[in-house]
């Protein structure tokens, strides 16, 4: 009787089955993935499905409370808050995903090299990261955007730069732990060069803890971008973005028009919350030890 093939790590079927298992095992994970799907959907299809044009003003309808025709009410220029909130998803999500992707790639590469080879490269990189982290990060982002220019791309770059040290340090620590472990040495005995050991054996094992960091960072990147917009950097009116919408709405809270600021803020919070919850789920999908 023939037995299972020993040569493949996991077939397509295996990964899918594991994904379903993870989702079913933890209801929180399922919830977070569901919410994430909702946000991605809003980002992709929102602009085509919203009832009103987010940019059209209508002075007669200014500052209307939530009603059937305007679910989230209108702002001071008569624009529909609901449409603006949904359309803003695309911008906020793209900024944070782009920034995190950039910092993840750069940080991982630098951290892996520093963690595996050490030496002067490690010392130099450490010094650079120490210097970046010597600034309060939001403040550094302010400084970078102010210096480079007040554009959305620069918000992405600034957010990416201040996030790189996190990944680099995390990857460095994980690689360092595993550098002298049995399986890394065994991989060298099997004829792998240092590069192959680092890339194919050590780094994939560092991924699970990094997944948690990635999700936390996604949430934090959105908060960062919204914060920068709140103080006037990055996004300009009339572009809909959650941070800038809260800033505009803030002026009207003291006079009791709560909906202008509340709904974008709530959506922002929900998005960040989703990313934070996803962390554990992502880690479980990537970690082979969770497979049964």
């Amino acid at each position: 009787m023939t037995t299972a093939t020993p040569t493949s790590v996991s077939t397509q079927g295996g990964l899918w089955a594991h994904l379903v298992y993870v989702l079913r095992d933890n209801p929180v994970t399922l919830l977070s993935f569901g919410l994430f799907a909702f946000f991605v959907g809003s980002a992709l299809f929102g602009p085509y499905l919203v009832p009103y044009d987010p940019l059209t003003t209508n002075a007669a309808q200014a500052l209307q409370p939530p009603s059937f025709s305007h679910w989230f009410g209108t702002d001071n220029l008569g624009r529909d808050v609901f449409s603006r909130v949904i359309v803003a998803t695309r911008l906020d999500l793209s900024i944070s995903i782009a920034a995190v992707a950039l910092s993840f790639v750069i940080g991982s590469v630098l951290g892996a090299i520093a963690g595996y080879w050490g030496g002067w490269l490690d010392a130099v990189l450490n010094r650079v990261f120490d210097t970046i982290m010597a600034f309060p990060l939001f403040v550094l982002a302010m400084g970078i955007v102010a210096a480079l220019g007040n554009t959305i791309e620069n918000i992405v770059y600034a957010t990416a730069i201040i996030n790189i040290p996190f990944y680099a340090r995390l990857v460095r620590a994980e690689v360092n732990i595993r550098r002298e472990s049995g399986f890394a040495l065994a991989a060298r005995l099997s004829g792998n060069s240092h590069w192959r050991v680092l890339a194919f054996h050590i780094f994939p094992n560092a991924l699970p803890p990094m997944m948690v960091q990635v999700s936390l960072n996604l949430g934090w990147a959105i908060l960062n971008a919204a914060g920068l917009s709140f103080i006037g950097l990055g996004v300009r009116p009339p572009e809909p973005e959650w941070g800038i919408m809260v800033a505009q709405g803030a002026d009207f809270v003291v006079s009791g028009h709560w909906w202008v600021a509340l709904f974008p803020g709530l959506w922002l919070m929900l998005a960040v919350f989703t990313f934070n919850l996803m962390g554990d789920g992502l880690r479980d999908i990537v970690d082979p030890r969770r497979r049964t």
């Binding site: 040569t7 790590v9 065994a186 060298r188 004829g191 094992n205």
Partner: protein, 554 residues
Amino acid sequence: MMLSIKDLAVGFRTRRGEVQAVRGISLELAKGETLGIVGESGSGKSVTSFALMRILDAGGSITAGEVTYSGIDLRRASERDMRTIRGREISMIFQNPRAALNPIRKVGHQIEDVLRQHARATRGDAREKAIQALRDVRINDPEARYHAYPFELSGGMCQRIVIALALACDPRLLIADEPTTGLDITTQKAVMDLSQELIRERGMASILITHDLGLAAQYCDRLAVMKDGEIVETGPAEAVFANPQHTYTCRLVEATPRPDASVRSLLPADRRPPELEYTPSDQPLLEVRDLRKTFAGKAGPVRAVKGISFTVNQGQSVGLVGESGCGKSTTSSMLVRLLDPTEGQILYQGNDLAQIPAEQFGKHPLRGDIQLVFQDATDSLNPRHNAGDCIAEPLRRLAGLRGKALRARVEELAELTGLPANLLSRFPHQLSGGQKARVGIARAIALDPKFLILDEPTAALDVSIQAVILNLLADLRARLGMSYLFVSHDLNVVRLLCDEVIVMQDGEIVEAGPAAQVMTAPAHPYTRALLSAAPRPPERVLETEPLAEVQSAL
């Protein structure tokens, strides 16, 4: 009777329901008696002691039975009463002594805490009494040691402190849970001798919990053997060891390496295939000449290996013995070419391997000839690769095998090492200790190495599994004609498998020669010290008929 346990059952609430760790055991301990509880991992021996001290983890509880100490019902006593009993009547010491002490508190203060908790000292005289407690465990210069932090002390010293802590309030019963695991053999002997002396001096009773049957037989009056939460046999230590009644005890006794055994005799009597012949030749295979390794340390250069020379012949098995810090691990790293020597030659088939830098050896044609079996099988398997992938890795990278040829060879290796083929798709966390060891061995022999270094390959295994793996190694040697360098701290194990033995101390070879000679008539004082420190269980009597029992799969 001082301590009486009747039908004790302990369960743990886990995600998958209730797990019974102890299933109804009964024990008795008289005043001044030393009882040894012996069992392999998972037998429930530690849980028993935690239960009677009522320090089980959250989720664990005594589900049935009675525990009585000097008339006190320990099972139903209040937490406050238990706190009075702990440390004052019954004390406990654990394995891993440095971790057992508060890392940021001076050891003297820690002893004072215990003394003052049990009202054995006031603030005024606590310091004096703490120093006296240190003196009682034969620590030199106790006044100075009082101010030390655990990280400044050696493992053996830490264990003494732990013992001082335990005995500070003069308890009547001492429970020692694997107190010597992780310690060097000579330190182990010192610790055991010290505890035994102190226990006898104070007329205390004691319970020694260990997996080492030989150790228990040497230091205990009575033994209780546990398996799967039950006691399978009890009796006077010498009798149980020399003349075991229960099958499981028999198996444990047989599996314990001892001077007069052969590899096959470690296995249960009904599972001994005929021993395979192997003949070491006198052609040298690997010759080491004046090998040195110096590391750059914080306080100056550290000379880990100070010029050693030896030869391993074809088909020969050489044992490399020494305690931690002697340089044996560094030596094996250099021989397997993961580390570059500072000086010296490693001659193999006419090539000086030391000349080839470790970085480049990975692609050298001789890479497959010299391989290593790691000490910790769990650590040596990539958690993301299943067993088949682990074994396939060297075949893919160095032999260039793919597809059907690869699969065939992996299955062949699995069969050679006794690994069922259906386990090849499992991940390391889904395999048992013995199975992981087999995967590690299969991977190491995948390329048909001529020289195999085994770095304490069975140190982390239960003794019965160790027996099986040692036999596997013996068989593979005979079938494949490999030479072995067997690195270990356990002399009894080395004696079983090796023709020649090399003893290292402090980076140098202090003695070398045929195994039989070195083991029975050692020349160097260090070798003598090592041999006398090894636990010496009582002699076995002729085997009697064991009771029939279904054997469980390993």
